[in-house]
Symmetry: C2
Subunit: 328 residues, 2 copies
């Protein structure tokens, strides 16, 4: 329970302004000189005044909170994305409520029940769960990143199809004869599948088999290593791998080396994402880089338009680029 | 502006229960059978009922929100820590308000002004800024991770001193004659300095010079690479480096390789942290691993005790372990 001993009147008296002025400072309303704002803040600090934020929110009917619903922040792509979303939202006066779903549909639904109950002004979502019904029903402004949620919700994505073509083309240019791809299990509603489609189309156009190993995003590293070991056992001829993300690319390289393969001499690997942390920890990886910071900015732009009640311009697709490491 | 057309009465009528029962379900008060809870939830869903969460919070005088104030989530250590804190808090009915300070004291103060204004029930902090005054003045429950904030705020930390000894001992055991350390600039109030103290004491005991290169956490990779290049230029004799975190260790290895050094043949490197992402992307790094998940759990335990008004057991120090990669 909070003590609320100090009152608005006390702050007004110490600052030497009217109660109305203190209230306007608190609610960011009307024109106020910087000197007045400073005086009121100083008085609040001297008195340890804590305005009742909750009561103020009730009055304003907005929370200035935005919920982020993503699988986890413990991943190079999502860490950079959430850090950048937090920055962009902060600059515009919003704060971030985290909602990591851990790829658990029940947890995502539980978050949504809470968030849609008026706890946030809007949502930016990119969790991997299928068909969560609440998104279709809500009146709340929602923008998605790299996930197809419902036809009414705009998606900010990288040009995954072009990225898939770039990665496959690089392996073909390197002379690879037996190229294998990894991706999420088919059926997950993610623009990620465009990477797979690009790979498959290019293989088919060259009358080569298109082979995709399916890897769950939230499997443990051990489970993923087991899949990649199986890949090398079932396809010893493989000489090029297009991994759908850099974490998988890193694990593939580790497994291949343990099996005596030399990269890039007898196996070439291209990843996808090119996030900050991967560039720092694994700069030798050749990868298709997504414009993660720009994706964050565009998602916040779209959300802000939706919150303001304006028409949004629809989904956004941003260009990717191939980063030369040394693995392909 | 939100529509609030559907009322508590409507939910009660559809669920076939009293208004009081609906209110008890919403506020998690009193004994309720699962069947009753389910009926009420179903009715709420059918009617698209959005209880006024803000008004409810006003009544309860608590927000069930915990603020996390850390430098950034775009870093292997903080990504794992924040993901784990989010999990632990979620399990106990709390939600997380992100407050990444980007190592900017003004931003940290701005967050605190908001958070302390009744927006959260408690704070877990580990930002790197010095002496933020608000922490000393607040009545709000606060727990810190790996940061000395004020004498009243308990700290959860790894045993940094033991970790510093382990890392230095490993390099000495490897036969290194010229060991250099990297750490934050001296003066930052962080238990990180215990790593430096352990290194310096061990060097002095062996009558060897203790040389520490200071690296700001929030410098760019390019700035850090420049410092490490200077290190190798100024100390070509160096044959062992104890880096205060794995990101720096990775950059040191990259710079050393570019300069023709072979690791571990003529340069040995030990890092610090051993976070999930580093283990996935750079498993070959020998490092001192902090028990990050356990640190998150203990911090949440302490915070919960503080929120409940109980006496806390004071600061907590958890053991570390050396992980054998191949770089030392």
């Amino acid at each position: 329970m909070k003590k609320q001993a100090v009152k608005l009147e006390d702050v007004a008296a110490v600052a030497g302004v009217s109660k109305t002025t203190v209230s306007r400072v608190l609610n960011h309303r009307g024109y106020l000189s910087q000197a007045t704002i400073d005086k009121v803040h100083q008085a609040m600090q001297e008195l340890h005044y804590r305005p009742n934020v909750i009561a103020r929110q009730l009055f304003q009917q907005k929370t200035n909170l935005i919920g982020l619903v993503f699988p986890t922040v413990d991943n190079p792509f999502f860490a950079q994305l959430e850090a950048q979303l937090d920055q962009e939202l902060y600059r515009r006066g919003y704060r971030v409520l985290m909602g990591n779903s851990q790829n658990n549909p029940e947890r995502e639904e539980a978050y949504l029940r809470q968030l849609l109950n008026g706890q946030v002004d809007g949502l930016i979502v990119g969790a991997h769960n299928e068909g969560i019904k609440q998104y279709r029903d809500t009146q709340l402004p929602v923008v998605s990143i790299e996930r197809w949620v419902s036809k009414d919700i705009p998606v900010v994505a990288a040009d995954n199809y072009a990225g898939g073509k770039m990665a496959t083309q690089r392996l073909l240019d390197d002379g690879c004869q037996h190229i294998i791809h990894t991706n999420y299990p088919h059926g997950l509603p993610s623009p990620n599948l465009e990477r797979r489609r690009a790979y498959e189309e290019m293989m088919q156009a060259r009358h080569r088999p298109a082979i995709t190993y399916e890897v769950n995003f939230d499997s443990t590293d051990e489970e993923k290593r087991a899949i990649f070991n199986r890949l090398f056992t079932e396809h010893p001829e493989v000489d090029g791998i297009f991994a759908d993300n850099d974490t998988n690319a890193s694990l593939i390289i580790q497994v291949a080396r343990k099996r005596g393969r030399h990269i890039p001499h007898d196996l070439k690997v291209v990843g996808f994402d090119g996030a900050n942390m991967t560039r720092t920890l694994l700069p030798e990886l050749t990868t298709v880089q997504q414009p993660i910071d720009e994706m964050a900015k565009r998602a916040v732009d779209l959300l802000q338009q939706r919150i303001a009640g304006g028409q949004t311009t629809g989904s956004v697709q941003l260009p990717v680029q191939l980063i030369d490491g040394g693995t392909a």
